[in-house]
């Protein structure tokens, strides 16, 4: 029973097994179920609970406005939800009404045979239900009971102002230990009005539904990836036409496959520039792994949605047609590589204006990279390859404490320095560093075989405080 302590329950039934609640796990499971429920309507919200302060694990609210006729009416829609949840072995209580409040009350307190409330019928349907069905806190329910208001029908007839005043602040001793807080007349009136449909109650959907979405529902579940690819071929032109009418192009597409076992598998592709060419989409989906999609025991619905859209009017060739075509080819190439290898696998260099070598040499995912590279030329010799992270150099022999190394060992090979250039002193950027860093003296060094290195000494000889580490040598790069 809800609110009962574990010790009390154990006292009543000694063999009771106790399992600690894992709220994060429960939430993840409910969100996954909510995703799956989008097969009926794009607007699915987590229920915030009785007094609006819960963490959203009480249930799901689906806005089916304008949706029911697709499933042959409200009765059939509810039956369909029952049937599919039952197939996936998910126990559920479902109610459908004009308002979220009424549906909430009927689902929890209503009779089994009357779960679909006809339009405008919520006043009659709610009259016989207890006040607790109004999503108010326990203190308010207790107080209403003391006032002899047991059923919602008792409240409906009462003047709102008096009702709100009567409950204000008076529930401090009636709250009990578990109800939390005071009786709240304002909330009671608001919940009542919301349930009756006098006051609007907008749902906050889990994700804002995409504006451009097409769907296909199958009488016979799809059993392999080829069939999914086939129906994607039918869906993409539909979505492309929708986008064309809105003069939009897709930057991100999501293909969601609703499986009969109550799970959703999906594929996302992202595009570097807005597109509405079905052929391009299909190829990106193929590279993102359409062939590897797992249909489980069958897929009975597919949706294709354009999650991010950008204006794309009729193709206009720029005056510089050649460059434009090149940029388009490049962005198409990046999209294809990203679809198969992931966003982080394709990087573009975007140097930053910094003297600190690690910070200056920066790479960002190519799809998000701004078109024009920032020119941050340090004006100094920089190596061809920058090791990340720098590698320790051992057995350094040097002539002068601040001079170049004469011999050193790197990667277990001893090298003798023939020529050296430097130092180039780089001070740490104290306004960016979290903790103190030593300065670096960089040397360009060539060994006897002609291999050119970029190495540095961190810290200074003879200047370190007693508690600081002695200077150390590091290999940071190689010149060609």
């Amino acid at each position: 029973m809800r609110g009962q302590s574990h010790a009390d329950a154990r006292a009543m039934l000694p063999s009771l097994a106790g399992v600690p609640a894992d709220r994060a796990e429960e939430r993840a499971a409910l969100v996954a179920l909510a995703d799956w429920c989008r097969r009926w309507s794009p607007q699915v919200a987590l229920d915030a609970g009785a007094d609006g302060t819960g963490d959203g694990l009480e249930g799901l609210l689906i806005d089916v406005t304008g949706v029911a006729h697709l499933f042959g009416g409200e009765e059939k829609l509810v039956a369909d939800i029952y049937r599919r949840l039952g197939k996936a072995e998910i126990p559920a209580r479902i109610a459908l009404a004009d308002t979220a409040g009424a549906a909430w009350a009927i689902a929890r307190y209503g009779r089994d045979e009357a779960r679909v409330i006809a339009p405008g019928g919520q006043r009659a349907a709610l009259a016989a239900l207890p006040v607790a069905a109004l999503r108010v806190n326990a203190a308010t329910v207790a107080m209403a009971r003391r006032l002899g208001l047991v059923r919602i029908g008792n409240l409906v007839a009462m003047p709102r102002a008096g009702l709100a005043r009567r409950f204000r602040g008076g529930g401090s001793k009636g709250g009990g230990s578990k109800g939390g807080g005071q009786g709240d007349g304002i909330a009671l009136v608001r919940r009542l009005d919301q349930a009756l449909g006098i006051e609007p109650e907008p749902l906050v959907p889990l994700d804002p539904p995409p504006r451009h979405i097409v769907r296909a529902v199958f009488a016979e579940p799809l059993l392999n990836a080829d069939q999914v690819a086939n129906s994607l071929n039918h869906l993409s032109p539909l979505l492309a036409r929708q986008l064309e009418e809105a003069e939009q192009g897709a930057r991100a597409l999501t293909l969601a496959a609703y499986r009969t076992d109550g799970r959703v598998v999906g594929l996302d592709v992202r595009l570097g520039r807005p597109q509405r060419t079905p052929g391009v989409w299909r190829r990106l989906f193929a590279e993102a792994g359409l062939g590897r999609i797992d249909p489980g025991f069958g897929i009975d619905a597919l949706t294709l949605a354009a999650g991010i859209v950008e204006p794309l009017s009729a193709i206009q060739a720029a005056l510089d047609g050649e460059a434009e075509a090149g940029a388009e080819r490049l962005s198409a190439l990046i999209d294809r590589l990203v679809a198969r290898l992931g966003t982080r696998a394709i990087r573009a260099a975007r140097p930053r204006a910094s003297w600190w070598p690690e910070r200056a040499a920066r790479f960002v995912p190519a799809q998000d990279a701004p078109a024009i590279a920032a020119d941050a030329d340090p004006g100094r010799a920089r190596p061809l390859l920058l090791l990340d992270p720098p590698e320790p150099v051992e057995a350094v022999v040097y002539g002068l404490p601040e001079g170049p190394p004469q011999r050193f060992t790197w990667r277990r090979v001893a090298r003798r320095v023939a020529r050296a250039e430097g130092p180039e002193r780089i001070e740490p950027e104290w306004w960016r560093e979290k903790r103190g860093r030593a300065l670096r003296d960089y040397w360009r060094v060539e060994d006897e075989e002609g291999v050119r290195y970029w190495l540095y000494r961190e810290g200074l000889y003879g200047r370190a405080a007693p508690d600081e580490a002695a200077p150390s040598w590091w290999m940071h790069g190689l010149f060609g």
Partner: protein
């Protein structure tokens, strides 16, 4: 310069889009190999450069430094698997969006290298494989072996580094005789030219024999 003067001039810079292989003579010559590969990219092509660098390259040799490379714009592909590396390289070549694709791919069969060669010609892009060795079968049109060489003496001081030099051995080519050259990087352009034709650097044979002694 007269093309007849030295046969390497006809090869410089890479005159047509095809697959080349650049191997390092030893592990320490990998950076020299990369510098040579970069110099093989045709000049004046505004398309970006693309590197395909699998995980082991990144671990051992890091990433190309944006300030150390003359190319104005470049992209890096970091594939996890070897077959993805080949696939990415072929896609990039075929798309025609890149001036050249430089890939550090060790395992490639004859068929796979032939595919790369076709893709390079289709997209009009140079394809360069950076490898540890180049003694296996390959469809590459030219196979180079690169070793670092001591730089040119600095005109003002003995201690400082002069112009970088490397030894380029063309060990196999489809359309002519192989050869071996000591090349020197020009400071302004970053290009390599045959060192023995530049002034005051002495005959390349000395460096070549020195080099041979080291290899032995």
């Amino acid at each position: 310069m007269d093309a007849a003067e030295s046969p390497v001039d006809a090869l410089w810079p890479c005159p047509e889009p095809l697959l080349e292989e650049v191997a390092a003579a030893g592990p320490r010559d990998r950076a020299a190999g990369l510098a040579f590969a970069l110099a093989r990219v045709p000049e004046g092509d505004t398309r970006p450069l693309l590197f395909v660098l699998p995980g082991d390259w990144r671990r051992d040799w890091g990433l190309p430094c944006p300030h150390g490379i003359a190319a104005p714009e470049f992209l890096i592909v970091l594939p996890r698997r070897a077959e993805d590396a080949l696939w990415a390289m072929e896609q990039a070549l075929r798309s025609g969006a890149c001036a050249a694709v430089i890939g550090a791919i060790e395992q490639a069969t004859l068929t796979q290298t032939r595919r790369l060669d076709f893709a390079a010609r289709e997209g009009g892009a140079g394809a360069i494989l950076l490898r540890r060795h180049n003694d296996g079968l390959s469809a590459a049109r030219r196979r180079w072996r690169i070793a670092a060489a001591p730089s040119t003496p600095h005109p003002l001081t003995e201690e400082a580094l002069g112009a970088p030099r490397l030894r380029a051995d063309l060990i196999r080519r489809r359309d002519g005789a192989p050869g071996s050259w000591l090349m020197e990087q020009e400071y302004a352009s970053g290009r390599f030219a045959v060192a023995d034709r530049l002034a005051d650097h002495g005959p390349p044979s000395a460096a070549a024999s020195e080099r041979a002694g080291r290899a032995a």
